[in-house]
Structure formats: structure tokens, C-alpha cells
Symmetry: C2
Subunit: 335 residues, 2 copies
């Protein structure tokens, strides 16, 4: 790999001049510029980004950190992040935290020198950790899917509890009363908020909460499948299932199908996310859309803005939207 010195020699000028040509700064005679350009071309020279970053303290890079690469919505999120970054001519580098909070914390700190801003979609870090990070970092960080009342950091968040309320209301207005619930990890705010949504909706409808209708999942199809199977094994009495994401809803759908139970005739199912696969299952899954693409766009664009100018921290709120398809029907019509 040739360096700026090679270009200097070939073009017969100093480092400063080459640098000026590279960056289009200062005054350079046209003939000199042409010389330098052709020298660069001849050598296949391209500036070393590390050296540039070190010298200017600007990396033109935004870092995206996710807790785990197989996480929710991963494809859509990354694709949008990449698109937004390119639009602003920034490099995007993506890292995961191996689902380990300590590792993830370390990764973010390491990224500090390599990025101008960080976008974080964390499932494992606590709010406290994130606040600590925010204080410790000298570069801006935008947090997706976390929301603290005090607005101590930039965040793009989703109204989790409200979304579950939407789901529950859809089931309730369809006459369902015995509603099983497949949750996600309960060690983070998302899970807790969603569970509150479930419980509060029951309370509002004066339906007692039954622990036996609650099963834990891990946001993947298999755990939804297993959760549903254990629901069936325990002969629980339910006419509908609400799952804390589409994957688990789809896993549950499969379990029901295998057990010879018709959806939605015998049991209704509703998910959340609006995963791209959801409308290809039979029946097409009714769900509440989590606008991950829009949220990612917002987050990355905000992060990029913050590279150049600081702004007061603000929380951008997004809401769920019910997408009615075929997996829910009124309970009275059931056999």
C-alpha cells in the first residue's frame, strides 16, 4: 500500500501539498494538482483512514452496536442504517455485543476512537449502564428502544406498553377473555413494559390475571413453539394468544397447527413487529407494526447530525399500528 510519501516523491511535492490536493483545501496550482492526481492514480494511492482519523479526530464513521446479531428485526435495521449512512457519506461499522452486557459495554467504549457517533440497540444493557456510557463517552450516542423519563440521552423509542394495549384491545373487542401470553426476556425494560400492557389491559377489562396463561420465550420461533406446546400440554383454556413478537407468534401458530387446532377458528393469534415473513404464513399473521425502519432512519440521521453539531437530548417517540390480517377472529364464532 503506497503512502502519501510515495505520492510526494512521484509528484515532486511536499506532504502538505498532496494533502491539500486530497482534501481540496488551500490553494494549489492547477498543474500541480494534475501532477499529484496522476501520481496518486499511478500508484493506486488511497489515503489511510486511520492516519486521517488520528490527525483530524474525525472518522467519518458511525458505529452501530446491537446486542446480538440474530436479534429482532435485524435485517431491516441494518439495511436502513447502511442506507442512511451512505446517504450522508459516512462509513457504517456494525458490531454485536455477543449478548453479554459486559462485553457490549466494552465494545462501545472501544468504538469511541473509531467513530464520530454511536447508535445503540441494546437488549442486554440496563438503563443505568446506558446512562453511565452516555456520561463516559466523548462522542454522541443515540439509543434505540430505550426511554427514560428524564431524557438523559438521545433516544428513539417505541411505546411498548401502548402497542400491547393495541393488541389486547383488538382481542378484547373480538370477545376474547382467555388470552394466553408468550413473553420475551423479562430482564429488560421492553419485556417489562409489554407485560404491563398485558396485565393492565386485563385489569381494564376486569379479567383476572392467570399465571398459568403466561409463558416465557426468547423472541425466536422455537421458543414460541415450545411455549405454545406447554400451554397445550397443561390443557390451559384459552381462545387467543398474544406473543411479544411475530417470530414467537409464528412458532405458536406452528404448534397449534401440529396439534390440529385451527387458527383463527379455534384460537386467535396476534404478534408484534410486523416481521416481513408474517404475511407469508397461513393464516397471514395479524400483528402490531413496530416501525423499525423509520426508527432506524431517525436514529442514524440523528447520530450523523450530532457528529457535527450538538443538540439537546430529545426522545423521539414512535407508536405501534395494528395490522389486521387473518389470524384473529371473533370468539363467538368459534366452534
Amino acid at each position: 500500500m503506497s503512502t502519501i510519501l510515495d505520492v510526494c516523491k512521484l509528484a515532486g511535492v511536499s506532504k502538505a501539498t498532496v494533502s491539500r490536493v486530497i482534501n481540496g483545501t488551500g490553494q494549489v496550482k492547477e498543474s500541480t494538482r494534475d501532477n499529484v492526481f496522476s501520481a496518486m492514480k499511478e500508484l493506486g494511492y488511497r489515503p489511510n483512514r486511520l492516519a486521517q482519523a488520528l490527525a483530524t479526530n474525525k472518522t467519518h464513521t458511525v458505529g452501530l452496536v446491537v446486542s446480538d446479531f440474530d436479534g429482532i428485526h435485524f435485517g431491516l435495521l441494518l439495511k436502513q442504517a447502511a442506507a442512511s449512512a451512505e446517504l450522508a457519506n459516512k462509513q457504517l461499522i456494525v458490531t454485536d455485543g455477543h449478548n453479554d452486557p459486559a462485553y457490549e459495554y466494552e465494545v462501545i467504549l472501544q468504538l469511541e476512537a473509531q467513530c464520530d457517533a454511536i447508535v445503540l440497540y441494546s437488549r442486554t444493557l440496563t438503563d443505568d449502564h446506558i446512562q453511565l456510557l452516555h456520561k463516559q463517552l466523548t462522542i454522541p450516542i443515540v439509543v434505540i428502544n430505550r426511554d427514560l423519563p428524564e431524557q438523559l440521552f438521545h433516544s428513539v423509542s417505541f411505546q411498548q406498553e401502548n402497542a400491547v394495549t393495541l393488541m389486547m384491545n383488538h382481542l378484547l373487542t373480538n370477545g376474547h377473555k382467555d388470552i394466553a401470553c408468550i413473553t420475551g426476556h423479562m430482564n429488560n425494560p421492553t419485556g417489562i413494559a409489554r407485560l404491563n400492557g398485558y396485565k393492565n389491559a386485563l385489569k381494564s377489562a376486569s379479567i383476572p390475571f392467570q399465571k398459568s396463561l403466561l409463558k416465557n420465550g426468547h423472541y425466536d420461533m422455537k421458543s414460541g413453539y415450545q411455549a405454545c406446546q406447554s400451554l397445550l400440554k397443561e390443557k390451559s383454556n384459552f381462545t387467543a394468544i398474544i406473543a411479544f413478537n411475530d417470530c414467537m407468534a409464528l412458532g405458536a401458530l406452528r404448534a397449534l397447527t401440529e396439534a390440529g387446532i385451527n387458527v383463527p377458528e379455534q384460537v386467535s393469534i396476534i404478534g408484534i413487529d410486523d416481521d416481513p415473513v408474517s404475511e407469508f404464513f397461513t393464516p397471514r399473521l395479524t400483528t402490531v407494526k413496530l416501525p423499525i425502519v423509520e426508527m432506524t432512519k431517525q436514529a442514524v440521521e440523528l447520530a450523523i447530525t450530532l457528529c457535527d453539531e450538538s443538540k439537546p437530548t430529545h426522545s423521539y417517540q414512535y407508536q405501534g399500528e395494528l395490522i389486521q390480517r387473518e389470524s384473529v377472529m371473533p370468539v363467538k364464532l368459534k366452534a
Copy 2:
């Protein structure tokens, strides 16, 4: 962010000594080391990776470049890559090429200074481009899913044509003769090799190739769905569909279901990949497994090895494996 100089001041030693402590190199008196460590701790100091990389010409990072973030097998690939990288204590940075060969080429070149090795899973670059890259780069590159007879670069590849042969033989031995085919992009070796597999299998079975049974897709569910719809609209006569990945097979399955056609009773479907979602559809999709996890592991581990020692280029070959599930049945039993 504190620098090494801050640590020097606080610990009352020179940069060289601090550096020795950081890296555990050279001789440092224990009491000095302790001083330096506590100074580092007090300041929350962590070495600037850019500066380290610049000085040592070692980044301890491997770059993973994919053509597009929503690509095939994306989640599994990334997850495994991240796991393998961490095991070797390397940072993994992931970038996509926005599905644009020129951009992807540029991205890879840019990455040269930021990584010790690169793993490439490209859908858009031609073999020629990859060879050019290989020649131009001063760091090793491992290419997944490309295979050239001359073995000019390190590659981890999959026997595409053979895999399709497996799929076709499964259908043929089940008595299918009218086999529709939903292809992927035909501008790269993968698509071409798979199509050859299809055509050659037909030839071996003395079945004439019918252009009307061939539809183009883009490896996503929607295009599989649309391809199948156009197949149906044209009233093509087929008893089985082979799709160039599971997603499209699943999209086709949906189209058939909507059209009231039973799978596999009326039409059999087979895919390729063994996508995690495939076994949750009804019927569970029969497919040929593409061992992307193993391949990724191999590729990343190889790349990491090549950071430290060079090895002769070699092509690691992987094969497909038929996974029989429920979407294929003998043709004679059909209504």
C-alpha cells in the same frame, strides 16, 4: 478521552514505560507497573486503537463484507462470524456494499487499512473483480461462495450445481417430470451454476427443458410468491417447484395456498438453504441444507490465521445435504 500522556503525567513515567505496561512487553518494575495501572484506572484510560494500529500496522480486526445486509442467511452468517472472531480475540467489523459492485469494491479497498484480513461474501462482484481485488490488496482476503478452478484466492465454497442436482434427483425419484424452477439473480456464478444443475438434471432424465417453467426471482419471499403466481396465471402444467432458495420456495408455497392448491398433494416444493424459518411453515419445507454456519466458521478462522501466517491458497469445498420434510411427495399419489 485521556491519552497516554495523561497517564504518563499521573504515574510520573515516560510514554515508553506506559506502553510497556499496556502491552506487557519488556521489563517493568512491579511497583512502577502498579502505579501505571492505577493511573490508567483513575483516568479511565484505554488505548486509542487507531493510534495503535497506525504504529504497529496491526489492527486486530477482521472485516466482513457482504453485498447487501438483507442477503441470504444473513443472521446465521453474522452470528457465527462474530462468535469466531471473539474466540480469537479479534474485533469484527461488518459492512455492506449496498448491492452495488463499484461501491462494494471501494468499500473493500477502504477497509484495507482498518483490518488485518477480509472475509467477503459477494453477490455482485464478478470473479474478475475479486481476482483484481486479491491482487491489489496487501491483506489476505477469504472469499465465501466463489470458486475458481485456478484457486487464485482463498475460498470457502459450496458445490452449487451438485446441490441442485440433489434437489432435482429427489423430485425425479418421486416421479416428477414437470418441474418448474424459480431462479435467483442470473448475473452471478451462483445463479448460473444452479441453473446448470437444473438443466443438466433434466437432460439426464431425458426431460426436455421448457422455458415457460422458468421464472426469475430475487431470493426474497415476495419474488417467489410472484413467480409462482405468474406460473399459475400461465396455466403451466407442473407437479413440482424447485426454488433457488428457501425464501422463494416459501413465497411460492403461499401463492399455491392462496390459489387453493395443496402442497404437497397437488404440487411439491423444494428449496435450498435450510433457512431457520423453513420448518415452521406448513407443510414443513423440504430443502437442501447449505451449511452457512460451518462455512462462515471456516472462512473467518482461516482469515484470522492468515493475519499472522501466510498459507497457500486453497479452496474449502462444502456440499449440500437433503433435508426431507413434508413439502415433497410422490407424483403418482396425486389426485
